[in-house]
């Protein structure tokens, strides 16, 4: 079975965000980029699927040359080969999905794994968009997945619980924390990854419909009050919550 996993290359979550001089994107100076945390879960699920069913895991990413670092990380975890769909410009989610859909079609993948969210723009939609463009079934925010031939039983996280979903291949699954524990890339994997191929081609790009006009930092919070250092401050805290904040 052909398995595709789509990965994005994003600023490390510990990054302090500084707005760039264009006032539209972040200042990338000194920022460490990593494989998107949710995509590690997607890679793990792809590898588990391969281990259970056999097949080939292809890692695909849309973006500039640097995205190869995250593709390489996925290869080190155990994926078989990579494809970089080169695109040096800001691309909105629909644009990214179009490029991915075209590649997935060419790969003729039966199952495609995404992270539930890319921790840069936090859109949480590229997987669903791609699924619909391909006409594949889609389960987003999956926390449990069982494949039985063509049949899929999955659980997705919703407010206050889970939905149990039945569907079938071909399908897109977007992965949420809790679905699995991503493996570490061991030294052997890192060495092996160096010999695996990353094919490069230009992304099939389209015009962006979502245009960023401006990026800014949220207004800083006023420093608060430390009411005290032990339980003697509790009555005052409760009074403030009742009378000043009026929240309880």
């Amino acid at each position: 079975m052909k398995i595709v996993v789509c990965v994005s290359h994003v600023p490390d979550t510990a990054t302090k965000i500084v707005v760039g001089s264009d006032n539209k994107t972040i200042d990338a100076n000194g920022v460490t980029y990593v494989l998107n945390p949710y995509d590690e879960i997607a890679v793990e699920e792809a590898l588990k699927t391969k281990e259970a069913q056999g097949g080939d895991v292809v890692v695909v990413s849309v973006g500039p040359d640097n995205n190869k670092e995250s593709i390489r990380k996925a290869l080190a975890m155990g994926a078989d080969s990579g494809v970089l769909l080169k695109d040096d410009n800001y691309r909105d989610s629909v644009g990214v999905a179009k490029a991915l859909a075209e590649e997935i079609k060419a790969q003729d993948a039966q199952i495609v794994f995404f992270g539930k969210q890319s921790v840069d723009y936090d859109n949480s939609i590229v997987g669903q968009l791609t699924a619909e463009m391909l006409g594949y079934n889609c389960v987003s925010v999956a926390v449990d997945l069982k494949l039985d031939g063509e049949k899929i039983t999955a659980e997705r996280e919703i407010e206050g619980g889970r939905e149990v979903i039945e569907t079938s291949l071909p399908a897109v699954i977007t992965c949420q924390k809790g679905l699995n524990e991503p493996r570490y890339a061991a030294l052997k994997g890192i060495m092996a990854a160096k010999r695996k191929t990353i094919e490069e081609k230009d992304a099939a790009v389209s015009e962006n419909s979502v245009e960023i006009l401006e990026m800014k930092k949220p207004a800083p919070k006023e420093p608060g009050k430390i009411v005290g250092t032990d339980s003697s401050a509790v009555p005052e805290l409760v009074r403030l919550l009742k009378e000043e904040a009026k929240v309880i």
Partner: protein, 319 residues
């Protein structure tokens, strides 16, 4: 160019979700600002009180009905939504950025060929143009965006836009019986997490971190939460340690929350945690380290021991 606005009303177990009233109010605002029409769509089987959306400014709702639609099915729902949007010439669609909205809105966007901006927290209108504001990098930055093209979809962050008190107006409900819904992907069961309030929906959240020392001590967090009618949240440190389930994690790789009140107990306030909760209206921190970064975002703090302060707080609230 006249706009037609369509808002999606989400139901579970036949009940309209609270965040849908927020979406209805926003759709009514859009109609007002763009001098256009707005209507609503709901998909389900028996749905209670659909006419009450009239109280939030929309006077027409189409209810697509079938027993197989009682539970969510993204294939069937997206299909009906797209058809309805085409039939009514709707060019602006509004969803809540709920679990269902996040799943459904992008599928619909592809079907009707719309641009999509998600998780919006503010809108500005300039003539025909709508500028949407949304948090990115887990709220460490904000972007203003335009959605270009003829059709646009916006999803709105739950809990941000308050719908206010409804007027007594009733909406006209049009029931359309659906035959043969497209059930390629279907929810066959709903598993509730033991009737617990979810952090994503709660108005008050009490979260605990590693300062609680061991999983058993979370009963302090739970007791305080019960006293406040709050949901229980957690830092990643305690989720990773297996003390608490994943769905309670607040932060950049957990849930982004904006409750009215967020209480952090024994949480240091790492950048990834702050990212997920800093937009809460009021933040209270109890941490024995007065230099903990959580105090930089807290409105009120007690720089003390959770094991001494929290029991006193629970007692004080019982009074």
């Amino acid at each position: 160019m006249a706009k037609n606005i369509l808002v999606f009303i989400e139901q579970r177990n036949g009940q309209i979700k609270k965040s849908s009233f927020e979406a209805v109010k926003i759709a009514a605002d859009f109609a007002n600002k763009l001098s256009s029409q707005a209507e609503a769509i709901c998909i389900g089987n028996d749905v209670e009180g659909l006419d009450t959306i009239g109280g939030y400014g929309i006077n027409k709702v189409t209810h697509y009905k079938n027993t197989d639609l009682a539970n969510y099915s993204n294939s069937a729902y997206a299909d009906l939504l797209a058809k309805h949007a085409e039939e009514t010439g709707s060019d602006v669609l509004i969803f809540s950025n709920s679990a269902m909205g996040k799943d459904l809105a992008p599928l619909t966007a592809v079907k009707i060929n719309a641009g999509i901006a998600v998780d919006c927290t503010n809108f500005e209108f300039e003539g025909e143009n709508v500028k949407a504001l949304r948090p990115v990098y887990a709220g460490k930055a904000l972007i203003n965006v335009n959605v270009n093209g003829d059709k646009k979809i916006f999803t709105i962050r739950p809990n941000v836009f308050k719908p206010g008190e409804p007027t007594g107006d009733k909406a006209e409900v049009n029931v359309v019986e659906v035959s043969d819904p497209k059930l390629n992907c279907k929810v066959v069961e709903l598993k509730k997490s033991a009737d617990k309030l979810d952090v994503a929906e709660a108005d008050i959240i009490v979260s605990g971190g590693r300062g609680l020392k061991e999983p058993d001590n979370f009963k302090l967090v739970e007791e305080l939460a019960a006293q406040l009618g709050a949901a229980v949240g957690a830092s990643r440190a305690v989720v990773d340690a297996g003390w608490r389930p994943h769905n309670e994690q607040v932060g950049q790789t957990g849930k982004t929350v904006s409750p009215t009140l967020y209480v952090a107990l024994g949480i240091s306030g790492a950048i990834q945690h702050l990212a997920g909760m800093r937009s809460s209206k009021y933040i209270v921190a109890i941490n024995k380290d007065k230099d903990a970064p959580i105090f930089q975002v807290a409105d009120y703090g007690i720089a003390g021991d959770v094991f001494e302060v929290v029991p006193a707080l629970i007692e004080e609230l019982k009074k």
